[in-house]
Symmetry: C2
Subunit: 241 residues, 2 copies
DNA sequence: TGTACATCAGTGAACGCGCGTTCACTGATGTAC
DNA sequence: TGTACATCAGTGAACGCGCGTTCACTGATGTAC
């Protein structure tokens, strides 16, 4: 068994949390970051906290969620269990912190949607760029997205909320494009269609290997996704029933 | 905390496992069901084993996967931990048994696909029936599908295989319909498109609540799904790039 | 039909590891004057 | 600039619960003759 460490400290960043409207972001309220025993963490403390968060992500990537232990995280971070409990009340809390950090990242993909044309041949290119952009996003945030997804489907409201926030920017941007392209002709609520399309992306990304058994190359699935997005945005006519 | 029990025994059914080709099914090889200490279970033993499987499903539905313990399962089944280890080597093994039972169930939806028309207005009705049929399927098998999905994305090959088997019938049936409808005009490999569409279904079903935050009624998302399936099957033209 | 034997089925009780969690303490850092 | 004090930061070591797991045993069931 190999020992995983996170000793190389990354640049210190202060955790950011999204406001409930999902639009603007503000630095964490100081009280929210207050350590469990009432101390207000300074530079050094925040760096340690951040290291714990990052080691958690690392462990989520290399072992199963079920096997994630507080002691493993502190061992990986080169610190002691007592330190962990100075910053997080339990495992779930550090997972929330992990998820919060991804909310910011999710907004970067918005420009892949809103700064593009979505009708005609250019629309297909845009769909392709969105798919590839998301696959890239997923590759770097796989452990986080997986655990957020799991805890969401298990019914935890806080993680459901965070999942919404992560996908929020993309979904709203895509809905806006749908409205632009289809106007009053839209037969389906643009937000619903956008939500379905964006929600499809992590699903696909997470099951890339799942197609092997059918001898389907993932390249073909990617083509399918591109078309589904294009269709969803442009809304081809569907026969009346 | 409430105590969950599974004492009311269901009719005894012998566990069925799918062959690796995913097509034909045979009763479990006797050796595969041999208890850990070498005994060959009879009627009574198989009933106990089945009760353990069903209590596992029950617990997966009422508490989180992370909190699932062997002792909880045996307590729910009204038996002792030692009995558990007579039929399963560990927790993972009983989860595999849980998943295997759902493989059979997944094939029931095949007729919702293959015994229907998929072009013209009837195609939209078929898409609707598939969506509703799947939502119903998900409702009754949510705990299982969730845990299979999780362990698949975590990279476990056995669960990935089982997930494939569960969705296998539907995917192949839908691919066949795509081929019928589009013929040589298909621009995307039918199995890839079918895999994308069928894979979308558990995703949607699992995140029904996730749309609340956006004030989208799930009914609208359902409409979006129906259209995406219709488009995927009929394959509207996409502009050349 | 009855008896004896083989095998299936189930479990009480215990063992021990590992993990969550805490306390009392030392060391580091910052700042007031 | 130096000293004293407050507060931040970190941890060694331990405690104890709970869970996984096993063993040696009793009871139930089936069947051979």
């Amino acid at each position: 068994m190999s020992v995983i460490t996170c000793l190389a400290g990354p640049p210190v960043t202060i955790a950011i949390v999204a406001k409930s409207d999902g639009a603007s972001r503000t630095p964490h309220d100081v009280a929210a970051l207050r350590a469990v025993d009432g101390r207000v963490p300074g530079r050094r403390g925040l760096a340690t906290r951040q290291r714990l968060v990052e080691c958690t992500i690392g462990l989520l990537g290399s072992s199963s969620y079920r096997d994630l232990k507080v002691t493993d995280i502190t061992r990986a971070a080169g610190t002691s269990p007592a330190t962990f409990y100075q910053y997080f009340v339990d495992l779930e809390t550090v997972l929330l912190a992990v998820a919060e950090q991804t909310v910011e990242e999710g907004q970067r993909l918005v420009e892949l949607i809103s700064q593009r044309a979505w009708s005609g041949p250019a629309g297909v290119d845009s769909a392709e760029a969105l798919v590839d952009g998301f696959l890239d996003f997923y590759r770097t945030h796989r452990p986080t997205l997986r655990v957020v997804d799991l805890l969401s489907t298990e019914g935890d409201k806080r993680f459901r909320h965070l999942r919404t926030l992560i996908l929020n920017g993309m979904t709203k941007a895509l809905a806006a494009e749908i409205t632009t392209v289809q106007g009053d002709a839209a037969e389906v609520e643009p937000m619903a269609m956008a939500g379905a399309l964006i929600g499809m992306l992590p699903q696909m990304a997470g099951h890339q290997m799942g197609f092997e058994a059918w001898d389907i190359s993932f390249a073909e699935v990617r083509e399918a996704m591109i078309r589904l997005i294009y269709w969803g945005v442009t809304g081809p006519k569907v026969p009346k029933r």
